[in-house]
């Protein structure tokens, strides 16, 4: 993949607070509506970003870490990529094994399904721990009409 094939649609930062999630969703949606995507496709990408950010926020709150999350939305030749970068203690969502829905219902659990949703929506999820930050990269294959 060469750089010429990528276009950064937006790059923005939010505080690690659940109150910021609505703004994250609105910002991502506003960019995605410019493309010939269905409402369901847009909602699925927005949902995936929301889930990863919510996890980071909840994890940061648990560890009493106040920091920011940086989000980049990138259009690639074959799809949409979202990079979510944080400076908190590394928390790899991908290492969590997938929970069983029936067991969660029987146990009356409210959590444990966010990452199942992301796994079912996205075509590729990567998590990297760099020296000063962690990055979660989500990729969804999309067909864009030739202009």
């Amino acid at each position: 993949m060469t750089l010429e094939m990528q276009t950064t649609l937006i790059n923005f930062s939010v505080n690690t607070s659940l109150d910021e999630l609505e703004m994250v969703r609105t910002t991502i949606s506003e960019q995605l509506v410019k493309f010939p995507l269905t409402e369901i496709e847009i909602n699925q990408i927005v949902l995936s970003v929301d889930e990863i950010c919510a996890n980071l926020v909840l994890h940061a709150e648990k560890k009493k870490l106040a920091d920011s999350i940086e989000i980049s939305l990138i259009k690639e030749e074959n799809g949409i990529r979202v990079n979510i970068l944080d400076h908190c203690i590394s928390y790899n969502p991908i290492t969590n094994k997938e929970n069983n829905i029936d067991s969660l219902i029987k146990e009356r659990k409210k959590g444990g399904i966010g990452l199942i949703l992301v796994n079912r929506i996205m075509d590729n999820i990567e998590y990297r721990i760099e020296e000063t930050y962690n990055i979660c990269s989500l990729f969804k294959r999309m067909k864009f009409e030739v202009a």
């Binding site: 999630l21 927005v46 949902l47 919510a54 829905i101 219902i105 009356r108 409210k110 929506i121």
Partner: protein, 114 residues
């Protein structure tokens, strides 16, 4: 933003959800459904026509009451979901575990709730 209003109509508790149900706001729904559980409501009908967005936090709240409502004999269903919201339920197969109808009439007729 999320607004939840409840309306009692004889033996039916009608719950109207308006806005976004996410990790920040889902606690509001949890309180309403918990109260309905404690009151051992006969029927809980949830109008989702104005539910703009749902994340796993919102789904998780619905999921966590399935067993309790079943034990209490509470008829519990959702109606009026938009296609995008319905799709999020379908991603986890929840439409097979929670009754979902198109309209309030369908929701009432399915269990002879009047």
């Amino acid at each position: 933003m999320l607004e939840i209003t409840t309306l009692r109509n004889d033996n039916i508790l009608l719950i109207d959800i308006c806005g976004d149900l996410d990790a920040s706001s889902s606690i509001k729904l949890d309180k309403v459904l918990d109260e309905a559980k404690n009151n051992k409501e006969k029927s809980v009908l949830i109008n989702c026509a104005k539910l703009n967005y749902i994340s796993s936090a919102g789904l998780g709240v619905f999921m966590s009451y399935i067993e309790d409502y079943k034990q209490n004999g509470t008829y519990f269903c959702l109606y009026g979901l938009s296609e995008k919201v319905k799709n999020v339920f379908a991603l986890l197969g929840l439409e097979k575990l929670i009754k979902i109808f198109n309209t309030e009439d369908d929701a009432r007729n399915a269990n002879n709730v009047n």
